[in-house]
């Protein structure tokens, strides 16, 4: 009887040990893939940011109505304290529609874009969302026109066929401030 009990105990211990090892391996695999997805998301965020940064600071600059002086501040767009700029554009450059987004704030809360990260024969897709707001010289959100706009890009992996939930529980966020140069 005692022999059987000890044998059962040994089996229980080794089964627990084996389960722990398998759990660790699953954790290592998941962490590895998660890290790779994060790297790709960061790359997609950077590319989106560079697209946005290449645009004019404001519609007034794109239209050529600015004079290159501090007086240009009154020409800049401003929609109010909740959303500093208009929202919901379908920007052509991100293939979500036909809107010509030719200045930085056109991308504020645009329709979610899907950007590919091409890796050889496979492609991972990422959803890109953007927010733009005015900030002061200390990079704090400012409810009014300033010469600085903060662009925040959020990227999360997307699986359009619904085969799985995103690997990234929290989207990767990249934020930069663009300033009006005069």
């Amino acid at each position: 009887m005692s022999q059987t009990l000890m044998a059962l105990l040994a089996l229980a211990v080794v089964t627990t040990f084996a389960m722990n090892v398998q759990q660790k391996h699953l954790h290592v695999q998941r962490t590895t893939i998660h890290r790779e997805i994060q790297e790709m998301a960061a790359s997609a965020a950077l590319e989106a940011m560079e697209i946005i940064r290449a645009r004019s600071f404001d519609q007034a600059v794109a239209n050529g109505t600015t004079t290159g002086t501090p007086a240009d501040l009154t020409l800049f767009s401003y929609n109010g304290s909740t959303d500093h700029f208009s929202t919901g554009r379908a920007c052509q450059v991100f293939d979500t529609g036909t809107d010509v987004c030719d200045d930085v704030d056109d991308f504020h809360k645009m329709q979610t874009a899907t950007r590919p990260f091409i890796m050889g024969e496979d492609t991972v897709l990422f959803n890109v969302d953007v927010e733009v707001s005015y900030v002061d010289a200390s990079f704090n959100r400012f409810n009014g026109r300033t010469f600085h706009k903060q662009v925040t890009v959020q990227v999360q992996d997307a699986w359009p066929d619904g085969s799985r939930a995103p690997f990234l529980m929290v989207p990767i966020t990249l934020s930069r401030v663009v300033s009006y140069d005069f």
């Binding site: 084996a18 290592v28 560079e50």
Partner: protein
């Protein structure tokens, strides 16, 4: 003999326990090898990306791009960039008149053989970096790990679309080239029986300085 039969249950169960422990020991060793291989390739990838970004962010530094295009067209073959050359100027303002040194940097992608990844032969390469000052002799100034399976440099317009023949386009309109994008793939230096990653992919889009 009767000792064996008397303790048959314990012997069988003990044998099973020992086998499971040995199997788990092998599994743990595989996990450690996989973690080490992943760490090595990630570390090498990050190091390569860091110095390459430093280089590419200085394309055309201190050069008037309306007068001169600071790079030559990337030399591509089979979807990969085999060679890329660009210049920057280093200006010494402590002397009068300021002394300008033209630094030319060149990447050459050279084959280092093949390796087996996921059961198939994959060509692997190494980037050799060379520099020269004021048109002098080329000096070797570093190289990447020799486990690259893909490498590509593209010059992008403001919509992040690659430009064909970018040097000619930039000569006509310097503002048309906004960014440089580099993408490369590294394979793991060795494989275990159960690999989570067989390749790592890296991409970076960098703005060309004004």
């Amino acid at each position: 003999m009767y000792v064996i039969f008397d303790n048959l249950n314990a012997l069988v169960i003990g044998g099973v326990v020992v086998m499971v422990i040995l199997a788990m020991q092998v599994r743990v060793t595989e996990i450690n090898i996989e973690e080490t291989a992943n760490y090595m390739v990630k570390r090498q990838g990050v190091d390569l990306a860091t110095w390459m970004e430093d280089d590419l962010m200085s394309v055309g530094l201190n050069i008037d791009k309306t007068v001169e295009v600071p790079f030559v067209n990337p030399v591509d073959s089979a979807g990969m960039t085999m060679a890329f050359e660009f210049v920057q100027d280093s200006i010494n303002v402590t002397v009068s008149p300021p002394d300008t040194i033209r630094i030319t940097t060149r990447y050459d992608l050279v084959s280092t053989g093949t390796t087996v990844v996921d059961g198939e032969n994959v060509n692997i390469y190494q980037i050799n970096r060379r520099q020269r000052l004021d048109g002098g002799a080329w000096m070797g100034t570093g190289n990447s790990p020799s486990i690259l399976s893909h490498f590509r440099i593209d010059m992008l317009n403001q919509d992040a679309e690659p430009i064909t023949n970018p040097a000619t386009v930039a000569a006509a309109n310097p503002d048309s080239i906004q960014n440089t994008r580099v993408r490369f793939t590294l394979v793991t230096p060795f494989e275990s029986q159960r690999n989570t990653l067989s390749r790592i992919y890296y991409g970076s889009t960098l703005m060309i300085p004004n």
